[in-house]
């Protein structure tokens, strides 16, 4: 045994020999590491689900089509953007970045690099999940089986269009007006005026899937702009509208 050189050294060696201090077993550190990895995986899994739902919802409710209407559309997109979903996703990214930055060698990089890296990976993977049938299947389950928690969330973010935007199938056309039925079965009467901006090459005809922007007043929408829907999305919309027509679910739009 080495002869202690200082009182401090003597105290420490005495504590060790008397077993007042003991080395912690290795399994504790392994367990801590496993716990941390599990925690990160749980948060990451939820982030990917949440973020992919965010992108899926933007696609499904027509938000991604709004920039096609120019400044008017972009302004509506900004006003009706799901900022709550966006904020939650961002918070989750910050939490994961903070954990990774503190617990790994990522502390060597400025935090903004870690944040940007995780944001990029999360965005890429989430977009891929959004494009896959995953949320479509969930959405179908929510619509058909009416799960008390999931159904309202899916309906709120995927079927309810951004403010003053109407997506549906044209079921009746009269002179300078037409009737639209949307995916919830709401009947919307649309008035076409001289200032209505109609997409080049689009003809207002029965059976067409369309997106209309304009203010709803007294049960009528004075259309500011009318566009067709992308092919597959249009087919999905028509399919949902037809289901509602078969069920006999057609009611006036609740917004005044």
């Amino acid at each position: 045994m080495t002869t202690p050189n200082s009182p401090l050294e003597e105290k420490i060696l005495k504590a060790i020999h008397e077993h007042r201090v003991n080395m912690r077993p290795h399994w504790r550190y392994t367990l801590r590491m496993v716990g941390l990895i599990v925690l990160l995986m749980v948060i990451a899994a939820y982030l990917l689900f949440h973020a992919s739902f965010f992108f899926y919802a933007l696609h499904q409710n027509g938000s991604l089509l709004l920039p096609g209407f120019g400044i008017n559309g972009i302004s509506r997109l900004f006003n009706s953007f799901p900022w709550d979903l966006f904020a939650i996703g961002l918070i989750l990214v910050v939490i994961i970045s903070a954990i990774v930055g503190q617990k790994t060698r990522a502390y060597r990089l400025p935090f903004i690099y870690t944040l940007a890296g995780i944001l990029a990976i999360a965005t890429l993977v989430s977009v891929l999940i959004a494009w896959s049938p995953f949320h479509e299947k969930f959405n179908q389950m929510a619509t058909d089986d009416n799960f008390s928690v999931i159904t309202p969330i899916y309906q709120q973010y995927t079927i309810e269009e951004p403010g003053e935007t109407f997506i549906g199938e044209i079921t009746q056309v009269d002179d300078k007006q037409f009737t639209l039925i949307d995916r919830r079965g709401y009947v919307i009467k649309v008035r076409v005026t001289n200032s209505t901006n109609i997409q080049k090459g689009f003809s207002i005809a029965k059976g067409e899937a369309t997106i209309v922007i304009g203010d709803l007043q007294n049960g009528w929408v004075n259309a500011e702009a009318i566009n067709t829907l992308p092919l597959q999305f249009g087919k999905d919309v028509i399919s949902q509208v037809q289901k509602n027509i078969e069920k006999g679910e057609q009611i006036p739009h609740p917004k005044k």
Binding site: T2, S6, I16, H17, V21, M23, R24, R108, P110, I112
Partner: protein, 190 residues
Amino acid sequence: MVNEPVEKSDEQVVQEILDGNTDAFAILVQRYEPKLKRYGWRFLSQTENIEDIVQNVFLSVYENLRSFDVKRRFSPWIYRIAHNAFVNALKKRPHEPLPFFDPEVLFPHPLSLERPDRDLERKDLKEMLDKLLSEISVKYREPLILFYLQELDYATIAEILHLPISTVGVRISRGRTQLKKISEAKGYST
């Protein structure tokens, strides 16, 4: 010719302790007690209870020795434990609050390379540091102590403080500027 025994590295000593020779821990205490006490005295700027804090650091090092990877360097690891202990002691002081959020660690900084101070400038700075340490803000005090008084390099300091190397460079540079301003205000010549 007598061959002098080659001094074991810290990592070799740690391996010996992990293999069962707990008395070898005394070697680490002998090597690091003066360094950690100096570090603590300078950082906390008072002599009371430094002995207790350093004792707790060594006990914590012993308790957690099995978490240390002997393929890595021991010195930054023990300094990191000491840093955490000193920061905890500092948190108990109401008049020296530590910032919760530090923008310096968020973004990259162009000043990342160590500047080879001229010997005279380094000596002057060390003297100023001795006199004025307690007046420098906590954020800059520690990197200055580790660089000028403990004579560690930027990479080691970054590992101890868990900061990007560029942030270490920025803090040392800003600390130096603050030190010079305080020194001039007090009329010390450099």
